[in-house]
């Protein structure tokens, strides 16, 4: 089978439509992951062990199981409990929840990265807890987190094809439906790969820049 540029031109609008949805899903899930991750990180730091322990277990469980199965769980099991979600919402919740467990680690590392002396100095100068966080800890903790968070944004973008398994019409699903109706697999599949490769090569450049600008978290 030969590569056919005419066919490429034909399917391009459909694929671009899929790409648009892919980007929307990525951004929405990223917001969910950023917010929920902060929640997880704070809950794990909680002095109350009845909060910290169960949250730690939930985070470990979500990290140790496949995103695809979690998506199936949200998409197939929740409706039996009376919670019927549209595929897009189910996908965003699933992706956001899964990656929140990763961003939580970034927040944790970022906060622990602030030297203990800074906390002690804040206490010595009689700052309130709020002032300590707003004026001392956050300004030092956040910049090194930015590259690490961006890294997970890219990872989420690459994982979006999984949502095709729960019938979200993103890039991969558009490509599959085009391929199945025309019996031509080479062009759609290769183009999807090319799209992802191009986007991620660009994002690697941006990531390097972010790392230079904000530094990176020490291991």
């Amino acid at each position: 089978m030969e590569w056919d540029w005419g066919f490429v031109a034909d399917i391009m609008p459909t694929l671009l439509q899929g790409l648009k949805l892919t980007l929307i899903v990525t951004l929405l899930s990223a917001v969910v992951a950023a917010v929920l991750g902060l929640g997880f990180a704070i809950a794990r730091r909680s002095a109350n062990r009845n909060v910290a322990r169960p949250v730690a277990f939930v985070v470990e469980f979500l990290r140790g199981t496949p995103l695809l199965v979690q998506l199936y769980f949200i998409f197939y099991v929740l409706p039996d409990a009376g919670i019927l979600l549209p595929p897009l919402v189910a996908g965003v919740i699933g992706m956001g929840l899964h990656y929140a467990t990763y961003t939580a680690e970034v927040y944790r590392a970022g906060i622990e990265n602030v030297p203990k002396g800074q906390w002690e100095a804040a206490r010595a100068t009689n700052l309130t807890m709020r002032q300590t966080w707003v004026h001392v800890v956050i300004p030092q903790a956040v910049p090194p987190m930015i590259p690490a968070l961006a890294n997970y944004l890219i990872a989420m973008f690459k994982e979006t094809p999984l949502l095709s398994a729960i019938t979200v019409l993103e890039l991969m699903n558009q490509a599959k439906s085009v391929a199945n109706s025309s019996y031509r697999y080479i062009e759609p599949m290769t183009l999807v790969g090319a799209f992802f490769l191009a986007m991620s090569l660009v994002s690697v450049v941006i990531l390097r820049w972010l790392e230079r600008r904000y530094g990176r978290l020490g291991k």
């Binding site: 089978m1 469980f61 990290r63 140790g64 199981t65 496949p66 995103l67 695809l68 199965v69 979690q70 199936y72 769980f73 197939y76 099991v77 039996d80 690459k158 994982e159 094809p161 999984l162 398994a165 991969m172 599959k176 391929a179 697999y185 080479i186 599949m189 290769t190 999807v192 790969g193 992802f196 490769l197 991620s200 090569l201 690697v204």
Partner: protein, 218 residues
């Protein structure tokens, strides 16, 4: 009750396929990681360039896209792989690309004077690697390798989409036949989690053994 044991057997058969994929994929990933990781720091530039292209390519697209490409596009180029072979290949090459960066980072983090000392002692390049550099670099690689192996285990779920009968595929079969959703999915989630725990505790044990003689060195 008798029915359920039948369905459970189905899921356990799938678990066997998942374990098989994880073990074979990890083995391939390990080999590829060392080849590409050493290639990236090779002195000969075509080798360096080749390794970089491989790593960027496989890290730039997701396992899902690669798997579909291997399974659906390669047959047109005359290469037809069984679903299992396609799965192992895609998983191994994908995770191997991540592992290659770990290998490179760990080797480069061995202090420079160690390398200079081996040159001064007139060791061959093979001896330098085998007896001086790797024994110090391996313990640094292990924790990340463990995480990579868990990522690989999680990625095996994707092969169910190219009709390989792994655990996720079997759970879908059970769902389709019984209409019950909670039991099959909760069962496989628990099984995946147990496998991930097994990997992380295995790697920790290995780490303890490898670092046993290194106290005081680092």
């Amino acid at each position: 009750m008798a029915e359920w044991s039948g369905y459970l057997t189905l899921i356990l058969l799938g678990a066997l396929v998942t374990v098989q994929l994880t073990v074979m994929g990890s083995a391939l990933a390990l080999v590829v990681a060392f080849l590409a990781g050493l290639g990236r720091i090779a002195r000969w530039w075509p080798l360096r360039w080749l390794a970089t292209a491989y790593i960027e390519f496989f890290r730039g697209t997701s396992i899902f896209v690669q798997l579909f490409w291997v399974y659906f596009v390669l047959p047109f180029a005359g290469v037809t792989l069984s679903p299992l072979a396609a799965g192992v290949m895609a998983l191994g090459l994908n995770v191997g690309a991540y592992g290659a960066e770990v290998v490179r980072g760990a080797i480069l983090s061995v202090p420079k004077d160690q390398r200079e000392a081996t040159v001064a002692l007139n060791l061959t390049p093979y001896q330098r690697m085998r007896h001086v550099i790797l024994p110090q670099a391996l313990p640094l690689m292990l924790p990340t390798f463990g995480n990579n192996a868990i990522e690989l285990l999680k990625a095996t779920a994707v092969v169910s989409l190219i009709s390989l009968t792994d655990m996720t595929f079997q759970a879908q079969v059970v769902r389709a036949q019984t209409g019950s959703t909670l039991v099959p999915f909760l069962t496989i989630l628990a099984l995946y989690f147990l496998m991930a725990l097994a990997i992380s505790s295995g790697v920790r044990a290995l780490e303890r053994r490898l670092t046993a003689g290194l106290d005081g060195v680092r």
